[in-house]
């Protein structure tokens, strides 16, 4: 890990009156796999374009591989491999020619171009189709070829913007396995913008959730629920009904709900551990006999939905 591959400090970008990215603070360690999650229009693609120097921020600073992408855009892009949701392959060119072009753009010598193109095509299992035009490829094949192209220059940073968008379940699994393989190889920073939360959960070391251009939560996929979002605990004990009977003073935003069943239990949602302590103290003061306070672990999907408020991912 160590040195950060991507650093954004208070980055904002507007389009007219609409703010696409607002005060974005983001740090992605070198060699890690970071998942950027968020509903459509949350600012993921704008963030990618800012990182590539295709757009400049109105406010804030961006550093990619230690470089400012606006004045040093060419150098940043030379170190970065990108795959957008539409892979942007040349339909009239064959799979081989598309990689040949990527190799020429990367200024590789002919022998190295051929070696890497062959390795890339074999890796994504398209070697047998190398002489076929891309126009005859399925969406899944195109995405795989797009990944091979993005990797051809052996970039330090790989940006994948919705790589499984529009794919059927079989192709999603195939591509996910490929991404998992890339992630496990290590040594390369991967920024994965995705709608698929389970994909992020399986592949990413850390994830961030964007909402309306703001990064509202960052953490590990497992820990995000407890680290970055709403805390939820389950309280077990006797006389928990005092919570309903008395005017228990709950912190702002906290919700305490008695659960049906035996033994008695209640569920508390609140903003942080301090609020949990306050509510527990209040319950004890009101006469409840507490036996256990157990933090609830939530899935990334639950956390995501809690944060973005049910917007379609």
């Amino acid at each position: 890990m160590g040195e950060a591959a991507i650093v954004c400090r208070s980055v904002s970008r507007r389009f007219g009156t609409r703010t696409a990215v607002a005060e974005l603070d983001l740090e992605i360690d070198r060699g890690s796999v970071f998942g950027l999650l968020g509903p459509n229009g949350s600012g993921k693609t704008t963030t990618v374009r800012l990182l590539l120097g295709l757009l400049s921020p109105h406010v804030g600073t961006v550093r990619v591989c230690g470089l400012d992408p606006v004045p040093d855009g060419e150098r940043v892009r030379a170190r970065t491999g990108v795959l957008f949701d539409q892979p942007g392959l040349y339909e009239r060119l064959t799979a081989w020619q598309n990689l040949e072009l990527a190799g020429r753009i990367a200024r590789l010598d002919p022998a190295e171009r051929r070696r890497r193109a062959e390795a890339g095509l074999r890796r994504v299992e398209l070697w047998e189709r190398r002489a076929d035009r891309v126009s005859g490829f399925s969406k899944g094949m195109r995405q795989k070829l797009g990944i091979a192209r993005a990797l051809l220059a052996e970039p330090e940073l790989l940006i994948l913007d919705e790589p499984t968008s529009g794919l059927d379940p079989v192709n999603i699994k195939m591509l996910r396995d490929l991404l998992l393989g890339l992630a496990q190889e290590g040594g390369r920073t991967i920024l994965l913008c995705t709608h698929h939360l389970d994909e992020a959960q399986r592949i990413c070391d850390r994830v961030g959730i964007l909402r309306n251009g703001r990064l509202v939560a960052v953490g590990t996929p497992e820990g995000l629920g407890n680290d970055g979002g709403v805390h939820a605990v389950r309280i077990h004990g006797r006389r928990l009904d005092v919570a309903a009977a008395s005017d228990l003073a709950l912190p702002a935003g906290a919700h305490l709900r008695l659960l049906e069943g035996d033994p008695p239990a209640a569920r508390l949602e609140c903003a942080g551990p301090q609020d949990v302590e306050r509510v527990v103290a209040a319950l004890v003061a009101a006469g409840a006999g507490l036996q256990a306070v157990v933090p609830e672990r939530r899935s990334l999907e639950e956390t995501y939905l809690a944060i973005v408020g049910g917007e379609a991912p």
Binding site: R77, T80, F84, Y90, L93, R107
Partner: protein
């Protein structure tokens, strides 16, 4: 230069698979090569015939370059490959220059092929007569064909590429590019500049076109910005 060569390699390989562009190219060459030769009255004075034949060759290059320049850009937009190019390490100048040079080369090669078709058709029509070199025998003809037509291609390539980056639709982009060719003859049509077909007059006209090209290319490179194009693609 390496990046420019990469872009040109890509354009050539793509063109080979582009039947529509190839059809327009072949039709322009054949029509402009055969039609005037077949319809030319036998008694037409050689000077007028030379200007007419040269005009057809130039027109074939205009048709091809004006069609090719927007097409080269619009295909990239439609196929979402422009975003891939913009996200690559290629410089703005290489991306833009590749389009302009390719359009110019296509236009120029169309003119040269048109000339070849004209000469062969003339030779076949006047069977037994010695080879006629038509306007190629004149200094003016050679200056126009070897310098004027490539410069015209650069002009049309620049205008066509630049317009297509912004317009996003083939028909208006092609129309604007063709109209821009008309702008070049406007000073003569409005009698602001006298028409002179002497060697010096033609050389001056070609030199003036070179200056216009330089200014236009400088302006286009100045205003060709990734950040702008991304916004157009976004819209």
């Amino acid at each position: 230069m390496t990046d420019l060569a990469t872009m040109l390699w890509k354009e050539v390989v793509e063109l080979v698979g582009n039947r529509r562009s190839l059809r327009i190219y072949v039709m322009a060459v054949l029509i402009m090569g055969l039609l005037p030769t077949l319809t030319r009255p036998r008694g037409m004075p050689p000077g007028i015939a030379a200007v007419m034949l040269l005009g057809y060759a130039v027109f074939s290059s205009v048709v091809v370059a004006a069609q090719a320049a927007p097409d080269l850009v619009l295909r990239e937009r439609a196929g979402r490959t422009l975003e891939t190019l913009l996200a690559s390490r290629l410089s703005d100048a290489a991306i833009f220059g590749g389009k302009v040079i390719m359009a110019a080369v296509l236009g120029w090669s169309a003119a040269l092929l048109t000339v070849a078709v004209q000469l062969i058709a003339l030779h076949l029509r006047d069977a037994g007569a010695p080879w006629q070199w038509s306007y190629l025998a004149l200094v003016q003809g050679r200056v126009v064909l070897l310098a004027g037509v490539p410069l015209l291609g650069v002009y049309l390539g620049t205008v066509g590429s630049f317009v297509a980056m912004r317009v996003g639709d083939q028909r208006p982009a092609y129309t604007v590019t063709m109209l821009s060719a008309g702008l070049l003859v406007l000073p003569v049509a409005l009698h602001l500049v006298p028409l002179s077909l002497t060697p010096a007059g033609v050389a001056h006209a070609v030199a003036a076109l070179a200056v216009v090209d330089l200014l236009l290319v400088a302006l286009a490179v100045r205003f060709f910005r990734r950040s702008q194009l991304i916004l157009f693609l976004q819209d």
